[in-house]
């Protein structure tokens, strides 16, 4: 292994590859900030550039840099504008955006950068050590376990089920799940609840819904009740994290790096589940007084999903590199790029082409470091976006909200749907219905139904719950994560 690490370091630290990783991180960060352009789209766009480079190591290093950069860029729009462009950064907006509204945008971005760096770096370390071993564990997960894992991911809604809000949080989750059933499901190939409208055949777009439920209501609320985001306390550019804050988030980062990585290893789970689960777990194990801060600008609530989604992204390379199985849409595109570069990922990659395998892992370390070094000095300037006068800022937020939905589907009907859902989101916000559970339900709903249906078909009914101990265990954990905090709140009264 030491020899492999040295080969990888030598390749990744060459001047050309260093420039490539810096370029990749910068491109990923800036394009990733545009809602609607997630890592998958950006990597797909960069593939022709990577292929023309000719050298597989350099190409993969470029794509890895773009990948990490895009995830960080996505978090930026989530934190500053409450406009999560990809599902993996939705959970970052739960506490990141309230921090921005409190005038702590600089601090929020710094925590996001450090948590992403730590998650990615610890993930790469775990990848280096456990990759061959974990690939076989990932294969133990089948549809029933995936279904149970999605249910565990849904337990993140408990964070929004405050006093008098439990039924509303449940209602919003069910509404999200209902919306996920619209369109042609992957398993049945039958259009459902489309009312014969062609535009609904592929269901509602995630970006449209995310923008309509998060970014649009926030922007309209800023119009209704003007509030200068850059003026609160003058701390907007302040990056400093106090020693107490660092001590508070350190264990969160440690735990979520490991948890996020292991969830990322499972094909199909990915950064979204990891971030929701990370958020739910950290909220549940936090002391009572800190639990109440979740959703209102808790630094732990921001550090947890940021660490987990980066660690999960690294984890998703395990099945790709060791088995040739893409665990997510993004790694599927990376697999396509590898094949185009005449590299066949799988168990023999480490033996036949160690320089590529180790160069990718080493470039993850370097990519994360470069991302941190490049982004920390940029944070005050990125945070200053919020100091732009309201008369200019709000039309731009609305424009990027519209663009996010339009670029994703290239369909103007999507924009009308965005406004329609946005009005519903505003009404729900007026009535104090928590909106994050709706999006959590929508994101997890499709995957949950597919895995549930597949399990039912395989086992001829719901017997899989009892026949597969891992499924039962995960469902018990999910029930615990949902019920315990509610009971604890009741008992505390």
């Amino acid at each position: 292994m030491l020899e492999g690490i040295l080969i990888g370091l030598q390749t990744a630290l060459s001047m050309q590859n260093l420039l490539v990783v810096i370029g990749g991180c910068l491109i990923g960060t800036f394009i990733g900030m545009l809602p609607g352009l997630g890592p998958m789209s950006i990597i797909a766009i960069m593939i022709p550039v990577a292929i023309t480079m000719g050298d597989p190591s350099a190409a993969l290093i470029l794509l890895a840099g773009v990948y990490y950069g895009a995830i960080f860029g996505g978090s930026t729009s989530s934190i500053l504008l409450n406009a999560p462009g990809v599902a993996g950064t939705v959970a970052s907006s739960f506490d990141g955006y309230p921090m921005s509204r409190q005038g702590k945008a600089g601090k929020a971005l710094t925590i996001a950068a450090i948590a992403s760096f730590a998650g990615g770096t610890i993930g790469a370390l775990l990848l280096m050590i456990f990759a061959p071993m974990l690939s076989s564990v990932a294969l133990l997960f089948h549809s029933p376990e995936y279904f149970a894992l999605m249910v565990v991911g849904l337990s993140a809604i408990a964070a929004f089920a405050g006093p008098g809000q439990v039924t509303k949080a449940l209602m919003m989750t069910v509404l999200g799940l209902i919306m996920a059933t619209v369109g042609e499901g992957a398993l049945f190939n039958l259009p459902r609840f489309t009312g014969g409208i062609m535009d609904l055949q592929s269901g509602f777009g995630f970006i449209t819904l995310a923008m309509a439920m998060f970014a649009l209501p926030e922007a309209i609320f800023l119009v209704l009740k003007p509030k200068n985001l850059g003026a609160d306390g003058g701390e907007i550019k302040d990056l400093r994290i106090t020693r107490a804050e660092a001590r508070a988030i350190a264990p969160v980062i440690g735990r979520q790096s490991v948890q996020g990585f292991f969830i990322g290893v499972l094909p199909g789970a990915g950064a979204t589940i990891a971030s929701f689960l990370g958020y739910a777990v950290e909220r549940n194990i936090a002391p009572k007084h800190e639990q109440d801060e979740f959703g209102k600008g808790s630094i732990k609530g921001l550090a947890a999903p940021e660490t987990a989604n980066n660690a999960a992204c690294t984890g998703s390379f395990v099945p790709l590199l060791t088995l040739g199985i893409p665990g997510s849409g993004t790694t599927a595109i990376l697999l396509g790029a590898l094949i185009a570069l005449n590299v066949t990922p799988g168990p023999r990659l480490m033996i036949d082409e160690p320089q590529i395998f180790w160069a990718v892992i080493m470039s993850m370390f370097i990519g994360n470091l470069v991302l941190l070094v490049l982004n920390l000095p940029l944070i005050p300037y990125i945070a200053k976006l919020l100091a732009i006068p309201r008369n200019y800022l709000i039309p731009f937020i609305l424009f990027f909200t519209l663009m996010g939905a339009y670029i994703g589907q290239n369909n103007a009907t999507e924009l009308l749907m965005l406004v329609g859902f946005g009005i519903c989101g505003i009404a729900l916000k007026f009535a104090n219905y928590p909106l994050p559970p709706l999006l959590i339900g929508f994101i997890l709903g499709g995957m949950m139904e597919d895995n549930f249906s597949r399990s039912m078909q395989l086992y001829g009914g719901v017997s899989f719950v009892l026949e597969r101990p891992m499924t039962l265990g995960l469902l018990v954990i999910a029930a615990g994560l949902i019920i315990v905090p509610i009971l604890r709140t009741r008992l505390a009264k």
Binding site: N391, M403, F430, N432
Partner: protein
């Protein structure tokens, strides 16, 4: 009746309609071989409709005790806020959605940004117009020319 209960009433109606479709209409067109499956396309929606109806009913009759919380904006006093601006901006978004294709990206977007800031009270035309044009041009160049995602730049009658 409080707003959250009105919304619960709407959601109840929606869930009943959804449930009716799932329970009574979806299975009619199911192929015979699919009927032998332990799970049908309507199974998950049926469960969801029951959950949705129960949850909305609980909110509607106020079974869950909780103090009535007013959010950051009190919807009962909307007249105290900049409601007109918000409504006109929402209308502007609809107009933008309808004009984007026929009028092209460059014109629609510049107009959206200029009119948007004008609605919000900005009167410095010498700042507003260049900012809108530069931002529109930069986004179009990035999306279409760099990223290769087609955005019709000019109006349809120009033919580009």
């Amino acid at each position: 009746m409080a707003l959250d209960r009105w919304i619960a009433l709407c959601l109840l109606g929606l869930c009943i309609l959804y449930g009716y479709t799932a329970w009574f209409t979806m299975d009619a067109s199911l192929a015979p071989f699919m009927r032998r499956n332990p799970i049908w396309p309507s199974t998950f929606p049926k469960v969801l409709s029951v959950l949705g109806i129960s949850a909305s009913f609980i909110i509607l009759i106020g079974l869950e005790k909780g103090e009535e919380k007013i959010g950051e904006i009190d919807h009962r006093r909307l007249g105290d806020y900049f409601l007109g601006q918000a409504l006109v901006l929402l209308g502007l978004m609809v107009v933008y959605a309808l004009c984007l294709r026929p009028l092209g990206f460059l014109f629609s977007t510049s107009a959206f940004l200029i009119v948007g800031s004008f609605i919000l009270g900005e009167r410095k035309l010498h700042v507003m117009i260049p900012v809108a044009f530069i931002a529109t041009g930069a986004v179009w160049y990035l999306v279409q020319e760099v990223l290769g995602i087609f955005l019709r730049p000019l109006p349809i009658f120009v033919g580009v």
